[in-house]
Amino acid sequence: MTSGPMSGPDQTRVLLEAVDLHKSFGPTPALDGAGLGVRAGEVVAVMGPSGSGKSTLLHCLAGILTPDKGTVRYRDVELSAMGDGARSELRRTDFGFVFQFGQLVPELSCLENVALPLRLGSVKRKEAESRAREWLERLEVADVADKRPGETSGGQGQRVAVARALVTGPRVVFADEPTGALDSLNGERVMQLLVTAAKETNAAVVLVTHEPRVAAYSDREVVVRDGKSREMEPVT
């Protein structure tokens, strides 16, 4: 577990909270009063049809996008009040990301990709690569360590991405359609590994998906429709 800029675990309290978020892209509204709270160690699935605003909600929660109105608080600090440097550091230390595609740097090997967030945070190369290798082994992709992402299969690539998301010991992992480009078998395996590893490190997971099969891995579900969010009954 990292000791990021906001260390000090407290699992009963809400770790990350979005309240009454509004966000428009030009004349098109994406969020219209959406909100969400995430506690440490829990897996929250954000569901909804295409264009409902679920990815925008995830980007606002991660501090990648700034909402037009409303607040996003991470451990009692409002993200929109943070500068670019602080938010970058937050992404590096406290957050991890797994997207559908495009998040791995094609020029770097899988090992270098996983070590990248550590290297950006001034961890020495040997140590960074040693920790990266451990995570590749945990996610069963140690054999592709020296390959570039383009030389791996889709499932292997996503597992490398999961390893990279978890290597810094984040408190929250944001996963946007992590299995969207995978077949069902590979998708299942990636989800198992992601959720297991997150639980082991007590990281919360915000999981954007429109597949009920993927959402089944979550502790609870939030549905986003027309920019508004609604909590679903607990998953049994």
Binding site: F25, H59, I64, L65, D84, G85, S88, E89, L90, R91, R92, T93, F95, F97, F99, Q100, F101, G102, Q103, L104, V105, P106, E107, L108, E112, L116, P117, R119, L120, G121, S122, R148, G150, G154, G157, R164, A181
Partner: protein
């Protein structure tokens, strides 16, 4: 040292090892390398000129009075308009020095020649016939102004000892000739015309693959790199290409240097060893190119906000402001007008500071023209609404494409500069040249001291086409000159029609008739004379039968014969057999002709080289763009747009900016030349303009052809894959 780690990460990304990253790196290195080669060549011009002028100086006969050890006589031979110059030498002391590059002073009947002259003598019997001596050696590089110099050293024949002058050795202390102000003006303008497009080219080369790079940097932003870190990473990435390009450029320069020996354009050439960049300029290039590359990368990041999700979607296209672009042209034109108003054209040409100022004015106009093109292309792309799908696709792409207009800016600067320079060189030629001769059939032969006139006249009489030979004798006395020649020459040069033997005319002032003068040791009485005007000076006497004037040896023989150039060659061939010291007077001074030729060849060579660079740059930018837009292209193809339409669209994409560029370059180039040229001397070479338009069409076609393989690959269904 956080920044150093980020810089290293950037370098690691540049040498990523994937096919795309290697291709990008190779293209950037090739582009920057070509730019560096040209810059190194430009930085070598000064030292090369200096090295050449040192060799010329070292080989010049030192005639300063003092310890004479040699007798020397300058001679020349003309062959098909080419001048072969030489020195006839005889040692008068045992320690007489040999000329540089020559082992020993050739004796009578011996000849040492330059390698080029030796080749010419071997291949052309008519040249060999001009040299009855036997060749005993070849002049080494140290004794040659340039590799293809046509020079020789011959033993001084006994018969010419009297007409030779004493010399101490070789290497006079005379400083090398400085450039006339007009050449400073032309050089400032030419260097601007060369450097501006080169800078643009280096900029374009370092920004190839910008979209891919933005995606890469976004991925790194996502995992927590700050904006500052991204700047260092991007700098490291660009720096790799630039430094590699620097090495490629240096390697290309040294690889191409030996070719200098074989290249000579219009009488200008250098030895490979002459081409060594000025140390200061070399250091400036070594530092400047990477700095420019990094600055361009940082500048790009300033306008493109790379966020964790990619290029910021909210960023509006940068507004092309027109004010400063036209401001540059306006400021340049104003500077030209103001300087022209301070002094007339001829005064400006005589004053180095005014000439440099005028050159700067031209440079500002050129820079402004280059800057206006992207703006103008943007305007055209937004205004035009064509019916055809191919031009429509091209125009829509051009709205977002900065690469093509940017490279074309370089071409437009070259074009504008070359149009301006060609007009100015035309004016310079008129300035340097003597006024056109009214009497092209009149050939003047300057005779060496104590030449054997009789045998020369006999040799001339044998040349076909000779109608008349006039002897001209000049005798100076205190306060004037007495020129004695025949009535044909006097009638022509003084424009009189009453000349008979014994007639005397006065141009300027002279002693009164009846005054006694000493001519050639004999008494001579100034005759009655009439006032006249013309291009002779002093007292001019038709002195055919005057024994005193006839005793003065002639200094010129004026031959009337055919007006064509070969007649001059034949004359010199004939007189050369009797005495190679006879020279044919020409309309240009040799040094000025060489300077003029060096500038013209510089403009032509530079334009060709930069056009080639531009073609490479345009092709690279076009292929890069097709590669980066392969997904939308694949979508278009999948939706049924025929490949032919996509190919024609690529053609339009180059053709539209090229047409706008030519439309801009021609009026601005000619307009600038019109402002600079003196009234009445402005001439437009329409053939050159037609050639330019044709060359542009070829460039567009070549660039479009280069994109075809990339286009064919892009329209494959596999390009639809996103991951």
């Amino acid at each position: 040292m956080r920044w150093a780690d980020d810089l290293v990460l950037g370098i690691r990304l540049a040498v990523g090892g994937s096919r795309t990253s290697w291709a990008r790196l190779a293209l950037t290195a090739a582009g920057v390398g070509l730019g560096v080669t040209v810059l190194l060549l430009a930085a070598s011009i000064g030292p090369a000129r200096e090295a050449k002028s040192h060799r010329v100086q070292a080989a010049s006969v030192d005639s300063t009075p003092g310890d004479a050890k040699l007798k020397a006589r300058h001679v020349s031979v003309s062959w098909q308009g080419r001048l072969i110059t030489g020195v006839e030498l005889a040692a008068t002391a045992p320690d007489a020095p040999a000329p540089p590059g020559v082992g020993r002073i050739p004796g009578p009947g011996e000849l040492v020649v330059s390698p080029e002259l030796l080749d010419l003598m071997r291949t052309e019997d008519s040249v060999r016939a001009r040299f009855p001596e036997s060749v005993i050696g070849v002049i080494a590089d140290a004794g040659l102004p340039r590799p293809k110099s046509l020079i020789f050293y011959a033993g001084l024949p006994e018969a010419h000892h009297d007409s030779a002058h004493p010399a101490a050795g070789f290497g006079s202390g005379r400083p090398p000739a400085t450039l006339l102000p007009i050449y400073r003006l032309l050089m400032v303008a030419a260097i601007s015309a060369l450097l501006v497009p080169l800078g643009i080219f280096v900029l374009v080369a370092t920004r190839l693959g910008a979209t891919g790079r933005a995606q890469r940097l976004a991925a790194i932003r996502l995992v927590g790199a700050s904006r500052t870190q991204i700047r260092w990473i991007a700098s490291g990435e660009t720096l790799t290409g630039a430094v590699l390009g620097l090495f490629v450029g240096v390697a290309l320069f040294f690889a191409a240097r030996p070719l200098a020996r074989f290249i000579e354009v219009e009488g200008v050439g250098f030895f490979p060893t002459d081409l060594l960049p000025d140390p200061l300029l070399g250091a400036l290039i070594a530092l400047g190119v990477p700095v420019v590359a990094v600055l361009s990368a940082l500048l790009a990041l300033r306008t493109e906000d790379v966020g964790p999700l990619g290029l910021s979607r909210a960023v509006e296209l940068p507004r092309h402001r027109a004010g400063w672009r036209f401001g540059l042209i306006g400021a340049g034109a104003a500077l030209i007008v103001v300087i022209s108003a301070i002094g007339g054209y001829w005064q400006v040409m005589a004053d180095a500071r005014l000439a440099v100022g005028l050159g700067l004015g031209i440079a500002l106009v050129l820079a402004g023209t280059g800057a206006v093109l992207p703006w103008l292309v943007g305007k055209v792309a937004h205004r035009l609404e064509p019916d055809g799908i191919a031009p429509l696709l091209a125009l829509r792409t051009l709205r977002f494409d900065a690469g093509t207009p940017r490279v074309l800016s370089g071409v437009v600067v070259v074009l504008t500069g070359s149009l301006t320079l060609q007009v100015l060189l035309g004016v310079a030629a008129q300035f340097t040249a003597a006024p056109p001769s009214d009497t092209p059939d009149r050939w003047v032969l300057d005779l060496p001291p104590r030449a054997e006139v009789r045998s020369l006249e006999e040799a001339i009489a044998l040349v076909g086409g000779v109608r008349q030979v006039s002897e001209v004798r000049v005798h100076p006395f205190r306060g004037g000159l007495v020129t004695s020649t025949d009535c044909v020459e006097i009638a022509e040069r003084l424009d009189v029609d009453d000349c008979v033997n014994g007639s005397a005319y006065l141009v300027g002032s002279a002693p009164a008739p009846g005054t006694k003068l000493k001519i050639n040791g004999q008494d001579w009485v100034v005759p009655q004379h009439k006032k006249a005007n013309g291009d002779l000076w002093g007292l001019v006497v038709a002195g055919g039968a005057d024994p005193v004037l006839a005793s003065v040896p002639p200094t010129e023989l004026v031959v009337r014969g055919d007006p064509d150039e070969s007649f001059g060659d034949r004359l010199l061939a004939a007189t050369g057999r009797a005495d190679r010291g006879v020279t044919l007077r020409r309309q240009f001074e040799a040094g000025q002709v060489e300077l003029f030729a060096s500038l013209r060849s510089g403009v032509i060579g530079g334009s060709v080289l930069l056009t080639l660079l531009a073609v490479i740059g345009l092709a690279a930018a076009a292929v890069d763009q097709v590669w980066e837009r392969r997904r939308p292209t694949a979508v278009l193809a999948a939706n049924g747009v025929p490949p032919k339409v996509l190919a024609v669209s690529a053609l339009w994409q180059s053709a539209i900016p090229a047409a706008v560029g030519i439309g801009l370059a021609i009026p601005i180039g000619l307009g600038t030349a019109w402002l600079v040229a003196p009234s009445g001397r402005f001439r437009v070479d329409w053939t050159e303009i037609a050639t330019t338009v044709a060359a542009a069409a070829v460039v567009v076609l070549v660039v479009s052809l280069c994109t075809l393989p990339a286009l064919r690959s892009a329209i494959r269904p596999a390009s639809l894959r996103t991951e």
